[in-house]
């Protein structure tokens, strides 16, 4: 951010800070028009994640600057704004994840797989916005009606994914031995295997546990 602010051109995953450093990214007022119009368009959603990251980095940097102007040392100013800094990092990482997921879709040729992964990517992206709605609303990146639209859309996506849920986890292709879970068995025969597993518990190695003879029986004699 500071290098960008000093006119240097950043490259790589942080290149979005070039605009922030030059004051081209500003939180919008609530009344102004939001940046994203179509909440179904992944590329514009990636863009709002990017803007959210840029705004939060800028906010943290400005808060540190202000503290330093109030004669705080840089180290104290840093500690005084650590919550904002962690939020900025979190937003940056969230943007990277959303961007990489969306980029991956571009490499997938199979129509069926592309379609179901696009639905998943959209769910991941919208769910992230819903969980962090305060950031997006405060920055004016999305409006309140759009947040409501997102809630509805998330419910649509859940129903859309429902028929493919088992196939999507099957695609991870874990064997029963590597998963090692009675509940997650490939054949779905959960209850009989759970009963079998419980029977193998060491507490079941004898019909009467030794603690009965050692403690309960003598106790009973004393009462």
């Amino acid at each position: 951010y500071r290098l960008a602010k000093n006119g240097q051109q950043l490259s790589g995953i942080v290149s979005y800070l070039n605009d922030a450093g030059r004051g081209r990214v500003q939180p919008q007022t609530v009344s102004s028009r939001p940046i994203v119009v179509d909440v179904n368009d992944l590329s514009s959603l990636v863009e709002v994640y990017k803007l959210r990251a840029a705004i939060l980095v800028e906010l943290a940097a400005k808060n540190i600057q202000q503290d330093m102007q109030r004669r705080k040392s840089e180290e104290d100013a840093w500690n005084n704004n650590a919550i904002d800094l962690v939020k900025a990092s979190d937003a940056h990482c969230h943007y990277v994840v959303v961007k990489l997921f969306t980029d991956k879709l571009g490499e997938i040729g199979d129509t069926g797989v592309h379609s179901v992964l696009s639905t998943l990517a959209l769910l991941y992206t919208l769910h992230g916005i819903a969980l962090n709605s305060g950031d997006f609303l405060q920055a004016g990146l999305l409006s309140v009606p759009q947040m409501l639209q997102i809630s509805v859309r998330i419910k649509d996506l859940l129903s859309q994914l429902r028929p493919n849920a088992v196939a999507l986890v099957d695609a991870f292709n874990f064997t029963d031995r590597t998963l090692n879970s009675v509940l997650g068995r490939y054949d779905g025969n959960v209850y009989d295997n759970m009963y079998e597993w419980a029977r193998r518990s060491p507490l079941n190695s004898t019909e009467v546990h030794k603690s009965f003879h050692k403690y309960l029986k003598p106790l009973r004699a004393k009462l």
Partner: protein, 438 residues
């Protein structure tokens, strides 16, 4: 086959095998992975007693037996590609860490990245043949992620051309390294280097800690297991106290920084190179997060199609619990996360390999970005995955509590990744430093 889960599979709208190939990287990689899995799964030498019913000492014992078998079999089958070794290991020790993890995952890579060619000649083949079993001892009882605060000292003595290593305080005792307690006979120790009266910061030293033949601790070494933990039952995480332990000058890893025989110090081209192994592990952790979420969501979603409970419409049969919107709202974002993190994990591995290649060619320009990205994504993915596993456990109702579900073990084995190789908040602040200052 349970009829409900059978019907689910019949209703899918895409080809599962095609997606598996994408997750593995290619159809050839899927084929090879399955070959490796069947080698392990059909091998009676890897059959085991259910660890859920064993004591910790029995679990450690069983894990060491399997790890020893694993090394023999890897040789027998000529498996040497790191990805294939990783796959084989994950089948031998599903859902859990094992006693040789630090040897394979940190000791050997540190040698490869930071040893000179002479040091490679001395240490690598003995380590490859497990005469040397190594670990990576960085964290101390009183100091973790803040590396400049580490107290262990390595003071160079030019008269004997040796380093003298010490744990000057109780808080400086090395604490937590996997395999340190009982398994390893060597440790790469991170210590503050003192030479010619000056401290030059943290450097890595190869320190013998147990006799290679008898496995008894060497003079000046106090070593042991740190006791039961939240998960990691198969691993002997250990402590190490160094009392005037002398090692030859040649045991400092000197590919980059050096100490000359007279004690003169030669700086490394980048101070971050000492922490290269941590960057490697952080890059891998992103993929590990994806695996943990993928396993948990597989368990919870399959179970949610088999489990029937209550009623949506009065008088109708009990529906599959996956038909409840609340269950979908819990599980499908977790499923989406599993896919997202898998692709990010693939990207991190490729990026790590590309930038490491550049570093080996002398180009360090992208090292700071790799540091920042691996730290941030390690924290971001482990935090999210940790919560997601718990969501999956809760989604399985009462049965999620049973160890038979595997969810408690996935959770306890995964949770330490939020603190090891860098505590997550500190990692996020390191990324923030890069974002603000870069």
């Amino acid at each position: 086959m349970n009829p409900d889960i059978k019907r689910e599979r019949e209703n899918a709208t895409f080809n599962v095998e095609t997606l598996t190939n994408i997750l593995d990287g290619s159809p050839q990689k899927t084929k090879r992975r399955r070959e490796i899995e069947s080698l392990v799964l059909n091998d009676p030498d890897f059959w085991e007693d259910d660890p859920n019913f064993l004591s910790r000492s029995e679990r450690y014992d069983q894990a060491v037996r399997k790890s020893a078998q694993m090394i023999l079999k890897l040789r027998e089958y000529g498996i040497s590609d790191p990805d294939e070794i990783y796959c084989y290991k994950n089948c031998v020790h599903p859902n859990r860490a094992e006693p040789l993890d630090l040897h394979l995952g940190m000791f050997l890579p540190t040698l490869l990245n930071q040893a000179t060619s002479e040091q490679m000649d001395r240490f690598f083949m003995p380590a490859w043949n497990l005469e040397i079993i190594g670990t990576y001892a960085q964290t101390e009882m009183g100091h973790g992620t803040h590396l400049r605060g580490l107290e262990t000292t390595a003071t160079y003595d030019p008269s004997t051309q040796e380093f003298v290593l010490n744990s000057p305080t109780i808080s400086s005792i090395k604490w937590w390294p996997g395999g340190l307690g009982k398994t390893s006979n060597h440790a790469i120790v991170l210590a503050q280097l003192y030479t010619q009266g000056k401290c030059h910061g943290l450097h890595a030293f190869i320190v013998p800690i147990r006799d290679i033949k008898t496995h008894e601790p060497l003079p000046g070494i106090v070593v042991g297991d740190i006791g039961p933990k939240f998960g990691f039952n198969e691993i002997d995480n250990g402590f190490l106290k160094l009392e005037n332990v002398r090692i030859p000058r040649e045991n400092m890893l000197m590919k980059y920084a050096k100490v000359e025989p007279d004690g003169a110090y030669v700086k490394p081209p980048s101070s971050k190179l000492t922490y290269g192994t941590m960057v490697f592990i952080r890059s891998l952790i992103v993929g590990t997060s994806a695996k943990a979420v993928a396993k948990s969501s597989t368990i919870a979603i399959r179970y949610s199609t088999v489990r029937r409970q209550s009623e949506i419409r009065p008088g109708q049969p009990e529906p599959q619990i996956l038909d409840y919107q609340t269950q979908q709202y819990k599980l499908f974002p977790v499923l989406a996360m599993a896919y997202a993190f898998t692709f990010v994990g693939q990207y991190m591995t490729q990026t790590y390999q590309r930038i490491t290649g550049d570093i080996n060619e002398g180009d360090f320009s992208e090292l700071p970005e790799l540091h920042a990205l691996s730290a941030g994504l390690k924290a971001f993915t482990t935090w999210a995955a940790n919560s997601a596993i718990e969501v999956c456990r809760m989604s399985c109702g009462g049965h999620g509590y049973s160890r038979s579900s595997a969810l408690p073990d996935i959770y306890t084995e995964f949770t330490p990744s939020c603190t090891y190789e860098g505590e997550n908040t500190v990692m996020m602040l390191q990324t923030a430093r890069y974002l603000v200052k870069s």
